[in-house]
Symmetry: D2
Subunit: 349 residues, 4 copies
């Protein structure tokens, strides 16, 4: 039984880790930390866990966390990097759901996140936790940096095209929309039901922190001679709790490739992936078909035979976009079947 610690368990990725781990047959949560809620039973904060978990929050303590086989960081950016060196030194394996170790270029990270990185020496040891590209490296990693929610949906949509250099990498457009849980459980007027429930808007159109992460991930899969990736990324806020939908537009370098061929490319690329589902031609994915599940569903279109390929991608931002993918990484790291504890059927209706 893998002993699990969770740092920062009061947020939405924390409760999502718990929802999945309390029924995971190979893992057990032995400690969950929160300074603010120390001493409070977790089920008092999250009543859906009543009857499933009797743990209380405890203050974060490296000695206690070091007893765990694996520690998840479900914290805002900037927190994991502060505690990381001590845990790494003691040999604990760490899965970081935050942005701290996703970007390999320290300067890029510091520019987009507006602060100095507290342990740059660990950045290069971190493995980017997207199993569909990095399964082997994850298996032996000590520190896994889980991808962001938008980057997960977007990379899975565009990787097959960029791996084969079928599109102009300098003319990518990603129009994405996220449920509000992506903003976290912070007291904030902007995320009140009264402000966003009956509305829709773009945000961060001038630049979103997930942009450099997506560009890095896509660059990594390009063949040697390819042009640099340049992407226009506009996120939008959906008046729902969970779900990301990415609509990705790319210009085909060879106009003659058919919609069927593009579809087959995706089917082949993901044939052995347990959590990527390529829909039949002509079908559109819906975020509800992945709600509460770890699945990513994709569809490929070539509208009116023009030279644009459109890839639609949906995930649950808290599951495949965060906590589910983190557990998928844990399964890989500890040699379990990759889908252990992750076979929930999406909640529909």
């Amino acid at each position: 039984m893998i002993q699990v610690g969770i740092v920062g368990g009061t947020g939405y990725t924390g409760v999502e880790l718990l929802r999945l781990l309390v029924n995971h047959p190979g893992a057990e949560v032995s400690v969950i930390t929160s300074r603010a809620e120390a001493g409070v039973p977790v089920a008092d904060l999250y009543p859906n866990l009543r009857g499933h978990l009797t743990l209380e929050f405890t203050p974060p303590d490296v000695d206690v966390l070091s007893q765990c086989d694996v520690v998840f960081f479900a914290t805002p950016h900037g927190v994991a990097q502060a505690m990381m060196p001590q845990l790494i030194d003691r040999g604990v394996r760490v899965i970081d759901l935050s942005a701290d170790f996703r970007i390999r270029d320290q300067q890029v990270w510091e520019q987009w996140y507006g602060q100095a990185h507290a342990c740059p020496e660990l950045i290069e040891t971190a493995v980017y936790g997207l199993p569909e590209t990095s399964r082997e490296a994850i298996a032996s990693a000590q520190l896994v940096a889980c991808p962001g929610c938008y980057p997960t949906a977007t990379q899975l949509a565009l990787i097959p095209l960029l791996e084969k250099n079928l599109v102009d990498p300098s003319d990518l457009v990603v129009n994405a929309a996220s449920g509000a849980s992506g903003a976290g459980r912070q007291a904030n007027v902007d995320n009140l039901l009264m402000e966003i429930s009956d509305s829709f808007k773009a945000y961060a159109c001038g630049g979103h922190r997930h942009l450099p992460e997506i560009e890095q991930g896509l660059s990594d899969v390009q063949p040697a001679a390819a042009e640099p990736v340049a992407l226009t990324f506009v996120p939008h806020l959906l008046p729902i709790i969970r779900g990301i939908h990415a609509t990705c537009y790319a210009s085909l370098t060879d106009d003659s490739i058919s919609e069927e061929q593009l579809h087959q490319l995706f089917v082949d690329r993901y044939a052995n992936e347990p959590f990527v589902d390529v829909l039949p031609l002509g079908t559109h994915p819906q975020t509800r078909t992945v709600k509460s599940s770890n699945m990513c569903r994709l569809a490929v279109f070539k509208p009116q035979g023009k030279n644009k390929v459109v890839v639609l991608s949906v995930i649950d931002n808290l599951t495949k976009g965060a906590s589910g993918q983190a557990i998928q990484n844990m399964n890989i790291m500890f040699g379990l079947a990759e889908n252990t504890g992750l076979e929930q059927v999406a909640l529909l209706p």
Copy 2:
């Protein structure tokens, strides 16, 4: 492995049965019927099941269904009673999610449902499938009539009070609200998102079919000398998909009983129930804390020390209010642990 048949699998209680059964360790769905969708893979209609189920819908056929150990009817009222005698004759066990066998008084049923009953001879053999009152009878039943969604939430809220004759049974008020999935998956202008998503209303204030079922269930638990039950029941439509909230008002016959004593009564009554959770004093249940789970959560209040007791009750109308409770009944009937396959944590947020 229990072989399961489902009649009428295209509705919401059908897909909910499938969501729960595909991961049930002791049961396997071997046939699912629909005349309209015969030949269509179930996962084409419900894409959340892609990767979990390869079954196709088939036309209903008694010979095929008779091969099953248990058959669930997830049909509108009036359907199960037509096919029931043949299945019962062949010894199949049946769990009926519809209203056909819930009411013991044939005339009352015919009056409220506006049609003649097609097999009245089976009505008295049916066991009302509320495990919290009828666990033993369910275990040996051939035909179980699963309670309606409102009746489940309401009876669990009021049973402890009526069993002890603590309230005036002739002055009960139940103000309940349901998510829209209770209306089923019918093409109907009244249930379009545009008609109900930004609104709230009472409906069937003059009389709802669940009223006689609730009155029957409550009467069954009264002590011998008690006055007859008379209840005012007003259902409301919530602009959400899943969830029932019942707010139940009763007049205490003995004013001196305290809120703490009332709370303790509920705690004791449900101490051994796996799917009834009595919240701490002063806490209010929320429908989201039971969404996608088989749990019922209850709270008890005695406002301002007046002689009214208020009991709040929440369930997921598709789970504890329908398909989850049906599987709970199946577990009881086949000697499995009652919570087998039903330990999902409610989806929050």
Copy 3:
């Protein structure tokens, strides 16, 4: 042109006042205050007002406010009473949307609101601003205390019954539900979309501040010899922005009165009211039929001929439940037609 001042214009009742007043043919907003947003154009905070209003927020200043013909307080309780004596002394007419002057019994107010009242001497001069009971007093009042949202919906539902002493005043049950805008525009985790948008709950079941206000208002309309009013009031939170629905239950003292007679009683009582609409027998009101309008719609039922009468009442909590009613009061106070500026059709769909 009536010159209007608004104190506390950054909240939802403030922006609702502005929405209605910018198109009011007889009034003009000349000052709107906010300490926190002083200097900010109102339309920067509320972009729906771009093109309709060029005012900026200014710090509250009695001298400036005294130039107005009428000042609206759209503030949390406790604020209006602090500034009130100065404004009253200078002869300004005041319409207070907060709770400060609604309760005539100072001790009751202090008990429910948990603080000492800062100007008890003005309490008895305040007129309760429910036009349907107090039109004449409002016309000549200097200080009008606008009713709360729940009290407006509830009193309009029960007044015809209590005026005629047709029901047992000691056995009233009001089960009400409100859209989330009733909670105001405060940064609060509890009102995030992620916490309440896909859920429903009761709150303040043990006692809500609107209870004594409702009991006072109902007592005021009783005939001399009637028994005291005692009411059980349970509010619930709807996952919508606007709308209140009150479901009111009362026990008829004379069983023989028919549903038709009850309905006629309501039709007659409100025949000349511009903002109360009694629906045809058998019809249920929906909150969307009053959204953004100043209308209250009512329906009356006597289910199954039992001795309970059920009255359903819907209003928009920000309009008839707050800012619309405040403007209705202003119209009365200044001798305008009562519906001036208030003829918006409810937004449907």
Copy 4:
């Protein structure tokens, strides 16, 4: 007083016309037709109109409609063209909200709408009713074809760029999202609250009927020598009732133009437009800031200084996207101030 007839008043654009016209100071609805609802008071179908309108639906009758000064068609495509010649012959002015006369190329229309056009001879006499490009022609038109909802939002976003030939017209991407009311008031499982309220999806990715209309409208404003317009258009379905958000991407032909210059271009282009609002630099529009109003709000970005310009555009699909724009056209046709009856403030919150 302009006498107004409405054909097909039972749908959402019909009730929206009524909402706006009952308070229009210069127009009066004298007839509203529906075969299915003939004899039914309009306010029975749309209770928000109770107290505002006593009209009943009548069967469509050319003689009756010919008495009107103007007839609005709020019908599905294919209906208006059947009755149009008779009305035109009798000299009635007509404002068609359907798609029947929007496309000038008969073959294109027949290809996308899958039917033969019933009165092609009138196509060329129809004026496309986008006031921001065609105000003068509208003023003297007998037949005005109101733009579709997506085309309105998209054209207003892209016209300033195409008029000046600043972007590559062959590489336009429009990613748009609409509230569900765009689908109309049809009984359809796909638009049940249970199917779409907690989800998001693209639809018609392979080709949507508004594509040729947008391409035609944009081509019309290009300077003489410009390359042909080619646009990739992907619509999405929002789980809200009202609102369209278009996110438009174009490649700048001259990289050196700054975000400020682009913004100024939009400010200048729309300086005199009563219903187009260009937001300050850096601001994002929200659909709620135009809900129930006739306003279009725009924002312009040039992310990271790359060569893409992104224009964000929001309208209420039922108002500026349909009925509000139709009334704006009526005002122009009859010489009224263009904003007569259209000054509602958007409903926020």
